[in-house]
């Protein structure tokens, strides 16, 4: 079966796919969107969207382990990674069960959602931009690679991304190391669409002791800088924010920010996809990961909903498998997909989606898999390589005074101090978000605290008092260490490992270089100083037996966890020998094939990648429109 001929065929309806679909259909282009997940998930009418989302919530409420993927359907025919499958690997042993075939020596610890809206359904919502030096790691620190674009090049696209996602934050508070002051870095009059989400009580209490304290690291002194974190969840609109939409300007051949409604009305936060009465403000439900119950947190279905549906066709339950390539012209001629009726049955029909231009937006691991399975875009031998994540080291302790965690979004403040600095020539940079949700991540609080209390023989008022003392003083700090690209951290495929539809399962090879281990050592030194200076009783335990991500460095043990930031597998670069795509996100090898998503990022920086990826996707959409209108 062959589809009609479209202007553009896109695989994947996460933010990259949805954003391209929206931008192109609104510019009048005919788009076909393939989505591997269930039909129900793409419902955008009021009743359908509401009922489907409520089914996600029910699944979440009923799940024993509230992991990031717990609200979303598990599909045998479109399987995905799950943090519950991340276990300690035995050297030389067979890979453990799970979608990712983990060859080690260390496990890759992040997961993804495979369904309409993609992994941003369970993102935390942090929307930090990358810093200027993040784009030139080779030049400045002789590490990794430079990007073919600079922070300045990306600025207009960052602004588009901040409108699309709906960022709440205070520009004036965004002071970063080795970066021009906010007025210079963001532009003199620039503001985010909404004011910042109020920082939590915990944040203000902790910051009292931490802000401006001096820590020593490798003989240098650093003054700690705690700042509010910009995020993609709805807050009070900023009356000074001028933009309402991003429009394709045919004459200038550019995407442009415009004020659609003029100056008259303030920016209106984008509500839930099921009605306009829900989700215009964050309500502090504190379950952002895995699911915002009111959709005050941005998700890509909000973008998809604003597409022009006269020009958009969506085929769901259609798993992109391979791409067809004309051997002579190197042009892509179709995306082969397998369409299932029942996600638990191995039966499927094969279709070929045909268009002028093709976009793979299926996530970094899936994109790499499809390219490898098709022998496509790989003249540089970089497809599947340089798989990265933030390696997250956690430290946790009890404060002297009660700080009342478990309120509000996951994180509203971060320590920006170690996001950049000369140390990057020695070890990785990191960002340290304060965590608002107690010790839930490392030790599954508050359930584990109840178990501990019961084990101590406590019940009734004594148990309540014990919990009251303990839960209210739980402090958790992250160290999200920027993983450096390494060609041996990679995705491969093998006929031995197939899913029920006969598509490849990704084989993952993953390890931590000394550059990373050294950053964990450094981060722990910083954590120790912060805890000691503020009377925080350290309860951090890195368990060599039970922690899947346990590593040692200079005789000390550390545990890393996945950040859900799957990046780097089809990097952007300067030429066809060093990379898979160019700065417009077009593959060097195939003139009508674009790749979208975090796989294009040559390095990771210390910001959560969603905002940067969205900015790059606007760049891709612009390049596609230019190519179509040539």
């Amino acid at each position: 079966m062959k589809t009609d001929h479209y202007d553009v065929v896109i695989a994947g309806s996460g933010i990259a796919g949805s954003l391209i679909a929206k931008t192109l259909t609104r510019a009048g282009k005919k788009v076909l969107l393939l989505e591997a997940g269930l039909q129900a998930g793409v419902a955008l009418d009021s009743d359908g969207a509401y009922n489907n989302y409520m089914s996600y919530l029910d699944r979440f409420y009923n799940a024993a382990a509230k992991v990031p993927n717990s609200p979303y359907p598990i599909l045998k025919d479109a399987p995905t990674s799950n943090v519950l499958d991340v276990v300690k690997l035995t050297p030389g042993g067979p890979p453990p069960p799970g979608y990712l075939v983990q060859m080690g020596p260390l496990p890759f610890a992040s997961d993804a959602v495979r369904g309409p809206g993609g992994t941003m359904l369970h993102w935390l919502g942090t929307t930090l931009r990358m810093l200027p030096n993040d784009f030139k790691m080779k030049t400045v620190y002789n590490q990794a690679v430079d990007w073919p674009i600079t922070a300045d090049d990306l600025r207009p696209y960052y602004e588009m991304a901040e409108l699309e996602i709906g960022v709440s934050g205070e520009v004036s508070e965004q002071t970063y190391p080795d970066t021009p002051a906010p007025k210079a870095y963001f532009g003199k009059d620039y503001v985010f669409p909404m004011h910042k989400i109020p920082q939590s009580y915990l944040d203000t209490e902790i910051a009292k002791g931490v802000q401006n304290m001096t820590v020593k690291l490798n003989k240098r002194q650093y003054k700690i800088n705690c700042i509010s974190t910009p995020q993609g969840r709805n807050s009070t609109p900023n009356a000074k924010y001028p933009y309402r939409d991003v429009i394709w300007n045919k004459a200038e051949k550019k995407l442009k920010l415009t004020g659609l409604l003029g100056e008259k009305y303030d920016y209106n936060p984008v509500p839930s996809i099921w009605d306009a009465y829900t989700g215009q403000r964050c309500e502090g439900n504190a379950s952002c990961v895995p699911i915002c119950p009111v959709q005050a947190k941005y998700n890509p279905l909000k973008t998809l909903k604003r597409s022009n549906f006269d020009h958009l066709t969506i085929i769901t339950q259609a798993v992109a498998s391979t791409i067809n390539i004309d051997e002579k012209t190197k042009e892509v001629t179709g995306i082969v997909y397998k369409r299932y009726n029942n996600p638990d049955s191995p039966e499927y029909t094969t279709g070929v989606a045909a268009g002028k231009i093709y976009v793979l937006a299926a996530n970094a691991i899936e994109n790499a898999k499809i390219l490898l399975a098709s022998g496509a875009a790989n003249s540089s031998d970089q497809v599947g390589r340089n798989l990265m994540d933030h390696m997250v080291m956690l430290t946790w302790g009890l404060t002297k005074e009660k700080i009342y965690p478990y309120r509000g979004p996951g994180s509203t403040t971060n320590i920006a101090t170690f996001r950049d600095g000369p140390f990057r020539s020695e070890h990785a940079a990191w960002i340290s978000p304060f965590d608002n949700w107690g010790w839930s991540w490392p030790v599954f609080s508050p359930g584990s605290d109840v178990s501990d209390g019961l084990a101590m023989g406590l019940f009734g008022k004594q148990l309540r008092d014990y919990l009251n003392e303990r839960l209210t003083r739980q402090f958790l700090l992250h160290f999200e260490c920027e993983q450096s690209p390494d060609p041996d951290n990679r995705v491969t495929i093998d006929h031995q490992y197939l899913d029920p539809l006969g598509n490849y399962k990704p084989i993952i090879h993953y390890y931590a270089t000394d550059y990373m281990l050294k950053s964990m050592e450094a981060a722990k030194t910083v954590s120790d100083q912060i805890f000691a200076a503020n009377g925080i009783e350290d309860h951090t335990v890195y368990n060599p037996v039970t922690d899947a991500g346990y590593v040692t460095y200079k005789g000390q043990g550390y545990t890393y966890r996945g950040a859900g930031h799957i990046v780097g597998t089809h990097r952007m670069g300067f030429n066809k020998h060093d990379s898979v795509v160019n700065h417009e996100q077009r593959t060097w090898d195939h003139p009508n094939l674009f790749l979208a998503g975090c796989g294009n990022m040559p390095t990771l920086g210390t910001s959560n990648p969603s905002l940067t990826m969205t900015a790059l996707t606007f760049k891709a959409a612009e390049a596609i429109l230019k190519q179509l209108e040539k």
């Binding site: 009021s46 009070t236 659609l260 920016y267 509500p271 009605d275 306009a276």
Partner: protein, 346 residues
């Protein structure tokens, strides 16, 4: 306090009459809210999804209309009065200054209450003259207000819209107000005022012989039906299709309305009814105190402290929890449950 300056023929000719009519508008919009909230809160959790969605969406739009009326009144130098005993209607009662042709109640969700809702939201017909007093439909009332605004503005040198900075800062904007479905419109000019009235009437009655409300046309929102037609879906237990008209009635899919999955709330309860039961009385009184505090909050927000509105959100949640708690308490010796009485209680 209603009707102090209104002419018998229902027209508006002076600034005082206009301010009085806009105060009436605020009271009119408010008077429907307790009525709708009782029906909404009486529906048992997890049932009647369509009815809950319908009533909730409409009641938050009434709240928007109330604030829009405050914005217009502030724009012409008035002072919305919201936290006075007379502001709260007595139930059973009539829409303030209407022709008293039907009675509104504090009552559970039922066929009878939906009948009343249809009367409240009934679209105006062209044959009825605009009237700010003795009106039959809310559309008639707002027509008179709009004509009055234009008349008084045209006949006042320099117009009636305030240029005073402090007075202009009393407008409630999108910074303070959200979740209403429609568009909060700050009012500084006659055009803004016209637009605000068009929004109120458009959401309630719909536009030009269609079943749709005005938000798509005015603000590019998704298609939504006007209040009357949304209630009519419950009444007829059948959905409208996009091709339906007011005349055709709903011809879409049947819906199930679970008329029995409702707390049997005592109609039009009063604190006096519970004198014999001090604990229950205290709970009703507590509800009323919260309600009165909320009116204080909205009053202050609309009189120069718009930031306060955000703090009212927590009180609105309190009100809901307290109302539902009451509906779970049987009134001794009757087949009824207690309920919120919406009385002014300092």
């Amino acid at each position: 306090m209603a009707g102090k300056h209104t002419r018998d023929d229902g027209t508006i000719r002076t600034l005082a009459e206009l301010k009085s009519a806009l105060q009436n508008a605020i009271e009119l919009e408010h008077s429907t809210i307790p009525t709708y909230l009782c029906a909404l809160y009486s529906i048992q959790d997890g049932t009647n999804q369509k009815a809950v969605e319908t009533i909730r969406s409409i009641v938050v739009e009434e709240m928007l209309h109330m604030i829009l009326a405050c914005n217009i009144l502030n724009a012409i130098g008035g002072e919305p009065a919201i936290n006075k005993p007379g502001f709260v209607p007595t139930y059973p009662g009539h829409l303030p200054d209407s022709d008293n042709s039907f009675v509104i109640n504090l009552a559970k969700f039922s066929r009878e209450s939906v009948d009343v809702f249809l009367k409240i939201e009934k679209p105006a017909t062209t044959s009825e003259p605009p009237k700010a007093k003795g009106y039959q439909t809310i559309g008639q009332f707002y027509q008179a207000v709009r004509i009055g605004l234009e008349y008084v503005n045209d006949n006042t040198p320099g117009g009636i819209f305030t240029k005073d900075k402090k007075q202009r800062a009393k407008q409630i904007t999108a910074e303070h107000y959200y979740g209403s479905g429609g568009q909060i419109i700050p009012v500084y000019t006659i055009d803004d005022a016209r637009e605000a009235i068009a929004e109120i009437v458009g959401q309630g009655e719909g536009i030009d012989d269609t079943i749709e409300d005005s938000d798509q046309q005015m603000f590019g929102q998704g298609i939504e039906y006007a209040h009357y037609f949304r209630f009519n879906e419950l009444h007829e237990e059948r959905l409208y299709k996009d091709t339906d008209t007011p005349k055709s009635g709903p011809t879409g899919d049947r819906i199930v309305v679970e008329w029995d999955a409702v707390y049997n709330m005592k109609p039009n309860p009063k604190m006096d009814d519970f004198k014999a039961y001090p604990e229950l009385l205290e709970k009703v009184r507590d509800f009323n105190r919260t309600y009165t505090l909320l009116l204080d909050n909205i009053h202050n927000a609309c009189n120069g402290q718009p930031d306060l509105l955000m703090k009212g959100v927590a009180m609105m949640y309190q009100l809901k929890y307290k109302a539902i708690a009451l509906m779970n308490i049987p009134v001794p010796g009757t087949r009824y449950m207690a309920g919120p009485s919406f009385e002014f209680e300092k």
